[in-house]
Symmetry: C2
Subunit: 242 residues, 2 copies
Amino acid sequence: MDITSDTHSQHISRQFNHELEDLKNHLMAMGGLVEKQVQDAVIALIEGDSSLARQVSDQDRTVNDMQIKIDEECTRVLARRQPAASDLRLVMAVTRAVSDLERIGDEATKIARNALTLSESDNGKKGFVEVRHISERVRNMVRDSLTSFARFDIDLALKVVHEDEAVDSEYTTAMRSLMTFMMEDPRSITSVLSVMWVLRALERIGDHANNLAEYVIYLVKGLDIRHIDPDDLDEEALKQRN
Amino acid sequence: MDITSDTHSQHISRQFNHELEDLKNHLMAMGGLVEKQVQDAVIALIEGDSSLARQVSDQDRTVNDMQIKIDEECTRVLARRQPAASDLRLVMAVTRAVSDLERIGDEATKIARNALTLSESDNGKKGFVEVRHISERVRNMVRDSLTSFARFDIDLALKVVHEDEAVDSEYTTAMRSLMTFMMEDPRSITSVLSVMWVLRALERIGDHANNLAEYVIYLVKGLDIRHIDPDDLDEEALKQRN
């Protein structure tokens, strides 16, 4: 047995693991920032805090830079390490996940922009209860999807997928009641529309968290569940797979 | 010189090129289908053709299946061929592009769904002129972005990026005039909102075409221009790069 080469390959593999850990950590850092953006955007809206809203918009550039950097890291790892099997799946999942995180950042920026518009109108906080409620559920989804990614936790990922369905139905109800507001008081149309855009953005954020959760399942199980109806996902079967 | 091994490696490389060509062709087939979906969804809306609208929705499943298949193909090529440099960039660009194409398909489905709602209302075709106009520009963007991908045509890709700016500003104007319609005639709120969702979907389709064009630039130049202001893109400098 060639001990030198063995030590060498152990060294390579240690370094490779280190690179994969780095990738995951950078993804988590980006996720943390994006989660904060969503939270701040909603606070800015509800409290009419326009300086916080501007701060969220300004941070969009940082999020974008993070995406580019992590994508480059992924490409570098693919080129140099030529990973296979689960390592390859990890790199592919990270490159997909950063794209969703970046879009969550975009949606947070849209919320912040509407917060600015609304801070100048006398909307009387119509629809704010719905915004607050849905935003809390969606923020939990983002947090849970990131945690499930960090821990390769399938159960938590599945929880996010199911939660997305519940959020979608709450979103539909909220949109309907906002439409009623508009019809009852046409002078409120402009400001209620802004609240509608906010709800839409929140619903999209939920979709992206759902995507993140699906990547975790792909990562752990090698099973691509995108486009499968959540009701058709047999959790036990999924858990026993592999 | 070992002729046998040389022939063998030529054979491998021919097969690899063949696989990369396949990837591109499958992407183009998916792109063609998605382009058709956008076109049909808008025709269904404008002509009130609900059976065409349902057809668009039904096709969403085919588009989703194509995405999963092409993604698997990409992962397989990465695992088996361990491509480097521009080949690696091609595979990465394809995996990103299918995700945008799939979302274009989703947006087309949303348009079709609104076409169904509108076919049952007496909206009087408010906003249809704007929909028709913006949809034509956006469809051209999708087509051009796909062509630029097929031909690695940087000039065409840059044209798409600039066109996206023009569409965004037209979208904003159209939304404003729809808001005026609503305020003038509150009974039209429900149906005008549907038209607004359609415009929103079209604007998103433009964004995705823009993403596709950016991947082409990344592909050809190794330069990631996502998040760079189009006005800061010096076309000459970009062309002379590499």
